[in-house]
Symmetry: C2
Subunit: 228 residues, 2 copies
DNA sequence: TCAAAAGTGTTGGCGCTACACCCATGT
DNA sequence: ACATGGGTGTAGCGCCAACACTTTTGA
């Protein structure tokens, strides 16, 4: 067999959504040439573990988080992306509701944190590029698959989804049309609960209809939201 | 640095279109446990070469072909996908007009060939799965990006495109509606030439308007072809 | 004159966009 | 009473689906 000196790693672009902001999960590098820079959670794949197992494991180890949604994003393999050693990294896209987990820095005592997507610190390696790809994918995907609910509480006022879409797509949407369309899919169920907002009128809380949700995941959605 | 014993390879799912058939480019394995089975062209990445360079090189070496279109498809990394050794393979999707190249088996004297997509021989490793993923991607992509022209001659009768779409999407389309829609994008230019068919009425030949084509590549298309 | 494929328009319906005011609550 | 966000209906238009006959050529 040929000799080859390339390492295989995984990295995770994990998005969260809190207070009308799209957030990204980062850890602070403790070792290496990029010490003290923030980076995507991730690491080397073990010889006997599948790729998605590797991401899941690394995330758990480094941040304490277990994802609600995970898909393969893209593989980054440019020769010069890490200058110590050739590393090919399979990037994954993950979604999680940050409120559902407490961040716990790993035993290596790295720092872990959520950062607003439009105020990221400088990132290690080519992680900037990976994040860009992840964001692009998220924006596309949310327009044709009912993901994005993974980012919210299980019961939420309608305005949460509305704002989530506006935030992720980064454009204003027409509230009435959006609501009509989304409701027409039948994936939202009213609960009998009511939110108690800080100000303004209380809102009904909604929950997912998981059956319809699964069905839609197959068939595909379609949103092409208008400017206001 | 950690010790890790994983090899990195690339594989190419290359589609061609000839005589109303979607074809796949395969090579016959000469060595290894899967000797004499057909497989996707591909091979190990060199330490100092980028991933896409690697695919391009392997394709050239193994088949003599240089692609008109190439994009990263998906990375396959299951532990057990190759039982000799752990191999992570980054699969690429390629399109080419088979008429534009003569297949030349490599110096290792492998066999090379085009196979109709619905009559593939048994494939080595998990290549069946990779092909499935490639086909799925092609079917999606062709509905929202003006790819697919890479598969045709530079000048072609309209019916070529029409058939290509039917073949790839594997469903009948409404000829009138399809033509209207496609023409409305302005990416096809009439030439003054006329095809000389084996039978039936001669047809005008078309060519691409490369400018519009580039523009569309950005904005995205939209086809959602109906059953007849 | 027949077979084979090319070429071509219209209509109806559906879904999307555009758009603005009232309601329920807390302060 | 005011501020804050929640909740709601309609009309017009554009786009898409459905649909079939005529034309050109070669045999």
């Amino acid at each position: 067999m040929i000799s080859q000196n390339i390492k295989v790693a995984v990295d995770a672009v994990v998005f969260g959504y809190v207070e009308r902001q799209l957030q990204l999960l980062l850890i602070k590098q403790k070792y290496g040439s990029e010490k003290n820079k923030w980076a995507l959670p991730g690491g080397f794949v073990l010889d006997h573990e599948d790729l998605d197992t590797a991401v899941t494991r690394e995330l758990k180890e480094e941040t304490g988080i277990t994802l609600a949604y995970l898909e393969q994003l893209y593989t980054f393999g440019a020769v010069k992306r890490d200058n110590r050693q050739r590393v090919v990294s399979i990037a994954y896209l993950g979604l999680i509701n940050p409120k559902k987990f407490k961040l716990t820095a790993s035993t290596d005592a790295l720092e872990v944190g959520w950062f607003a997507i439009d105020a990221l610190p400088p990132l290690a390696f080519d992680h900037q590029e990976i994040v860009a790809k992840g964001l692009e994918r998220l924006q596309n995907k949310i327009s044709y698959k009912p993901i994005g609910f993974e980012l919210l509480n299980t019961e939420f006022p309608f305005s949460n989804i509305e704002n989530l879409y506006q935030t992720i797509l980064n454009k204003p949407i027409d509230r009435r049309n959006f609501r009509k369309k989304l409701m027409s899919f039948g994936i939202l169920e009213e609960t009998d609960k009511i939110s108690k907002p800080e100000s303004g009128r209380p809102a009904k809380l909604f929950r997912f209809n998981t059956k319809k949700y699964k069905a839609l995941e197959q068939k595909g959605f379609h949103f092409e939201i208008k400017f206001a």
